[in-house]
């Protein structure tokens, strides 16, 4: 047992000490900061305080109301709100065409020019009836900007039409308020504060964490076996360790590294979320700007997730180690690891089928397949609770599957690690498994 512990420690320390680990660990939180702060920064930079000239050829106060609506549009709320537009209205009467052309000519629609202009909005009578207004600007390619503008202008145009039809706009607009479906998850007979979107994000997040861990670290188990083969250190190790001790130590050691890294990332993400507004302000962005948010995770779900994460990691790492022992170079593994990749991708994709029917017969069947259960069970549990007996059954079948795969992998590994030269075929593998 001390020998296994020595292998675990070596795998853990040598990996944590590498520059690659340090960089990946630091890049994770930077990535979180990036995805939470960048959108807010971009919003602030791009769509605030745009100078819009309104060339008005309508009579009455339609032009003035457009101007008021633009001036009232704010980004953010409360004291941090910033005006989106700085409108200037020119009443051009019948000379709209000429005013527009000369404006384009003088300003060139360039910010560099004195009194720069971002865009020109042509407001004419036909716009009210046909619902078509013309906007000239450099930012017409930005769907987001145009959508914002449309949302500001739309109510003004509708109000004008209603008014002309003799309907009270206040009544009509009130009646036209669209239906919003608010979702709240019911879990074990209790109303939770989770919305449907948060549940999906959680399920997706868990599957994705397992997926990433397997891709990053499962393959590390594989390359580390190849490394030991190509360094020829295997023979020294084999004179003092059984193949099973080495396999166990390696898989657990690498697994602990992945838990550490994911732990650091999750903690960093949680800290960032708790202090999101301070960080935003530090970057000069509005504290309330939309960023990412982490859904809350119950203790039971966390326990289920960690249990299946560990089982899944051990299962796939053992398989990866067997593949590594069959090959002599990393290139050779590309093909040999395909069966493993298929299971991982299938596991990840099965989530989408589960979201609709978390307790359907398909979901139940997939939960009994050991390589898929680590993906399927936590996702199911996050959507709808699974009764304890079923949960224990899934854990038991996964453990049985894990033992079977470890047994097969250890037998392949035992022969594979000392065979050099040509890559083992699946026929060789079957022979190795049968060999006593």
């Amino acid at each position: 047992m001390n020998k296994v512990f020595a292998v675990i420690r070596r795998e853990f320390i040598e990996r944590v000490r590498t520059r690659a680990f340090l960089i990946a660990t630091l890049l994770g939180p930077l990535f979180f900061i990036g995805i939470s702060v960048l959108p807010a920064l971009l919003l602030r930079r791009e769509s605030v305080g745009r100078r819009v000239v309104i060339v008005n050829t309508t009579s009455g106060d339609f032009g003035a109301r457009i101007e008021a609506a633009l001036a009232a549009a704010k980004k953010g709320t409360g004291s941090e709100a910033v005006a989106k537009y700085k409108p200037v209205r020119i009443d051009a009467a019948s000379r709209g065409q000429e005013v527009r052309d000369s404006l384009v000519h003088i300003t060139g629609l360039s910010k560099q020019a004195e009194g720069g202009v971002d865009g020109i909005l042509i407001v004419d009578e036909s716009g009210i009836t046909t619902g078509k207004l013309t906007y000239l600007g450099a930012n017409v390619g930005s769907p987001r900007d145009m959508d914002d503008l449309r949302q500001v202008l739309n109510p003004v145009v509708i109000t004008e039409r209603l008014r002309r039809a003799g309907v009270d706009p206040v009544v009509a607009m009130g009646a036209a308020t669209p239906l919003a479906l608010e979702t709240r998850k019911v879990s074990e007979g209790q109303l939770t504060n989770e919305s449907g979107g948060a549940t999906f994000a959680l399920a997706y997040g868990m599957s994705f964490i397992l997926y990433i861990a397997l891709l990053l670290y499962g393959t590390q188990v594989m390359t580390s076996v190849i490394e030991e083969k190509s360094n020829r250190i295997m023979e020294v190790l084999m004179s003092s360790l059984t193949p099973f001790q080495l396999l166990l130590g390696k898989v657990v050691g690498v697994g602990l590294v992945s838990l550490l890294q994911i732990g650091i990332w999750t903690t960093a993400a949680k800290l960032l979320r708790d202090h999101q507004s301070q960080i935003m302000r530090a970057f000069g962005a509005s504290g309330d700007a939309a960023g990412f948010s982490l859904p809350a995770m119950s203790i039971e779900l966390l326990a289920v997730f960690i249990t299946f994460f560990v089982l899944g990691f051990l299962l796939y790492s053992a398989a990866y180690a067997a593949v590594g022992s069959m090959c002599n170079t990393v290139q050779e593994t590309q093909q040999a690891q395909m069966p493993i990749m298929l299971f991982i991708i299938f596991g990840l994709m099965s989530m989408f089928a589960l979201l609709n029917e978390p307790n359907g017969s398909l979901a139940k069947a997939l939960s009994l397949v050991p390589p898929l259960a680590p993906f399927v069970v936590p996702v199911r549990y996050s959507i709808a609770p699974i009764p304890l007996p079923s949960l224990l059954l899934y854990v038991a079948t996964t453990i049985l599957g894990l033992l079977a795969i470890v047994w097969i992998a250890a037998r392949i590994y035992r022969v594979g690690i000392l065979s050099y030269g040509k890559k083992a075929s699946f026929k060789d593998m079957a022979r190795w498994i049968r060999a006593s």
Binding site: N2, A6, E14, N231, R232, E235, V236, S239, S240, L418
Partner: protein, 318 residues
């Protein structure tokens, strides 16, 4: 102290297409240095790997340290230096040695202290915190050598321990091996460099093509071959000497070294007759010395005869 630490009984190993080791039997008594000699591809490494339980024999039995357990279970009492050298290139030297000692069952703190002491002794003290990949090949070999000895095993098995070392380092290592043997440990090493075996070994086994050819105490083997060897060095007329050596009633075998020759006398001849003949022929002699056969000549003779299927019985029956 007459017990056997390693017993190999009728061991055969076949690989696809050829037999690497054929019915090999040998015994290694406790203490001293045991040489496993043979040309390249003779099956030395295969034998050692079977002893180390890394590969399994197809036939026969191997018993290590008189215990029914495999040598892996006994790894804390056995030191092993494989032919294929290998270390973790990115690991620090000290950590590496500590790890390799730990998997032999030594506590970590003790392992570190021992590793540091060994590195100091072999002149690698300054390198202990460097990565293995920063070391020269010779230094790496020393590190691996230490890894085989660090847990003070009672049986040390070294596969070609001195290959690839410069004369100075090779000498340092040989001294370490000799010291191990003086402490009462048993050293088994394989080599194809006969000078090393000749200087160090108490007992040898020579194998060729997987079969044992010579087995015994080095002194006994030399005695068998001894007494009929003469080393002759010439000052002039070496060509006449060569003609004398062609007389099969006097000389059975010559190994010509240019200015000198190692001559094996014919069974019926004696050295006085040879000396008289050489003087009569006018060969200028600077040296005429009766000697034991060198292990080199025994090796070449045995392995060479084996290959040529020539009258081998005549010689060994002496």
């Amino acid at each position: 102290m007459n017990d056997v630490v390693l017993q190999v009984d009728g061991v055969t190993k076949r690989f696809s297409g050829h037999t690497a080791v054929k019915h090999l039997s040998m015994q290694v008594p406790r203490g001293g240095i045991f040489g496993l000699l043979g040309p390249n591809g003779a099956g030395k490494s295969t034998t050692i790997r079977m002893i180390m339980n890394i590969i399994l024999p197809d036939e026969g039995k191997i018993n290590v340290l008189g215990s029914p357990s495999s040598s892996r279970a006994l790894s804390s009492r056995i030191g092993y230096l494989p032919e294929e050298r290998g270390l973790y290139p990115k690991m620090r030297v000290l950590d590496q040695l500590a790890f390799l000692a730990e998997v032999k069952g030594i506590a970590r703190s003790e392992a570190k202290a021992k590793a540091a002491a060994w590195l100091e002794r072999l002149g690698l003290g300054e390198w202990k915190l460097k990565k293995v990949q920063d070391l020269s090949k010779g230094m790496q070999q020393k590190v691996q050598f230490i890894s085989a000895l660090i847990h003070e095993p009672e049986l040390v098995i070294l596969d070609e321990p001195f290959s690839g070392l410069d004369p100075v380092n090779s000498q340092v290592m040989r001294e370490v091996v000799i010291e191990m043997a003086r402490q009462g440990r048993t050293v088994v090493f394989s080599t194809h460099i006969m000078e090393h075996a000749e200087q160090m070994c108490d007992r040898i086994v020579i194998i060729a093509r997987g079969e044992k050819i010579v087995d015994g105490a080095l002194s006994d083997i030399k005695r068998q071959f001894g007494g009929n060897h003469v080393i002759v060095a010439f000052t002039k007329n070496a060509d006449r000497a060569m003609r004398v050596f062609e007389d099969k009633t006097l000389v059975s075998k010559v190994s010509d070294r240019g200015a000198s020759a190692e001559v094996t006398l014919a069974p019926s001849a004696d050295s006085d007759t040879l000396l008289a003949t050489l003087v009569k022929e006018g060969v200028g002699l600077s040296r005429f010395e009766l000697s034991e056969a060198s292990l080199q000549s025994i090796f070449i003779e045995k392995v060479g005869l084996e290959a040529a299927v020539a009258p081998a019985k005549e010689m060994s029956g002496e």
